[in-house]
Symmetry: C2
Subunit: 300 residues, 2 copies
Amino acid sequence: MTASTPNLRELDVSFWSALVNCAHAEILSHISNPKCDAYLLSESSLFVWHDRFLILTCGTSTLVDAACYFIDALGSSSMALVSYQRKNEYQAHLQTSSFTDDVGKLRQRIAGKACRVGHLDSHHHYFFCSDSDYQATKDDCTSELLMYHIRGELADYLNRGSQTCDELCAAFGFKHLFPEFEIDAHLFTPSGFSMNGLWGKYYVTLHVTPQSDKTCASSYVSFETNLDLARYSQSLLGRLLTLFSPVSWDIIRFNTNDSTQGFPAHVRLGHGSLTTEQGYHIGFSHYQQLQTEVLIPELM
Amino acid sequence: MTASTPNLRELDVSFWSALVNCAHAEILSHISNPKCDAYLLSESSLFVWHDRFLILTCGTSTLVDAACYFIDALGSSSMALVSYQRKNEYQAHLQTSSFTDDVGKLRQRIAGKACRVGHLDSHHHYFFCSDSDYQATKDDCTSELLMYHIRGELADYLNRGSQTCDELCAAFGFKHLFPEFEIDAHLFTPSGFSMNGLWGKYYVTLHVTPQSDKTCASSYVSFETNLDLARYSQSLLGRLLTLFSPVSWDIIRFNTNDSTQGFPAHVRLGHGSLTTEQGYHIGFSHYQQLQTEVLIPELM
């Protein structure tokens, strides 16, 4: 946000509730500290600082409508920067919009550059970034880890179901991974798990879709943080990869270095980078575990 | 087809014309020999033998409607076997149907098994095969090579455009690759190239979509044949891979062995197989060239 806009944390919860409803999500719980409010949504998350906010959604939510609601409510001149991302979907034909549709809606409100990194037939990532004079500070970094087709002990445990939320938090080892963070976790029925964590201005968020049912035999786990992993825990992503043991994963980095410390044996199938005019160095990498996977035919 | 059904080659061309129209394609030219009629369609192909036919389409064609037209015209009891395949699309949301939709239409007419081999977020292939007592002969084999993101000298030459059809046939080296085959080739405007070849009962077919335009910067080349490559030319697929130098490729094999002779240095990202009750051993493999690719952001 620009200097002249209000403190976002002073906006009423009804504002944020209406915003997440635009994305077809709802607020389930929330934690707070002097720097940030963290809302756990229906398999999604919202973080609000005084001068910025972040919303992540999944499934067939309509994230762009939440972004448009915000721009319309506060006015585009109040925005120092609008950034919008979308990953490749498991089943794009089930989505209610494409990234191109979304960018059309955003550009009706604010000018910006959009691009895709990665081929359409493989993992790829879409970025939109509004035109602005804003300059990112060096510590304005984000790391996103997207994990596909989790396997191994923890995956088997998750697929058995019937755990409590506390049991899952223990199984994930949050106390060891994020000892300083206050954690807010939610277990969904019949499956799915979400976690927000706060430590000062820093957030961590993890969303787990373990399901391997007939309609979408495709587990997915996402993790995101604004911690500088080089200072906090260089091997944090490696520890998460070891825990979930995904067949493949993507990493999207904003102003963080390209460490693969602690990663399982892998091949990097593709990587690309771009630098925005605001000084964000964005990297995208797509990895797969090294051993060739034997694919099991899925009856339909 | 069953023994009691008519010789398909005696059906009038108006029948086949109506059938391909159901898929939103049209017949552009045709060649013929004592065993087979080969029709070149708008970026697609149709082959008709006395007891079977094969149609391949691409783009937003509606292949399943051509299959349903045929089943409705001759009656499902005339079908010894109906086989239907679909690959993962570059942009699934632009398709008019999903494989699940297609199988729904087929199953209204004939019972059968359907499956997917490969994860939804990576290359995958869908198969439908009708229930039947038909038993495939050992020489009933098919090899399909699907090439993504072609590169190198030939790719650059194709993207420059302004070639004649004969020049392209020479550049592809069909006379050396398929010396025995009669070739029927077509060059599309503004881009695209299709080729059918016939040699006795054997066919080869190649479809090239070189375009790297803004809306779909994604080249694609498909090749298919019923030759037994172990007897004809074990390295034929390797020679095509060397010619087009794709970033990644899939191979689908029916009753043929798993040779990688002549392939560029590669990693096999996944592979799976199934055997139908008719005795077709089907293999699916997804490959990528060994060196990591640097992805260039595509502005949108």
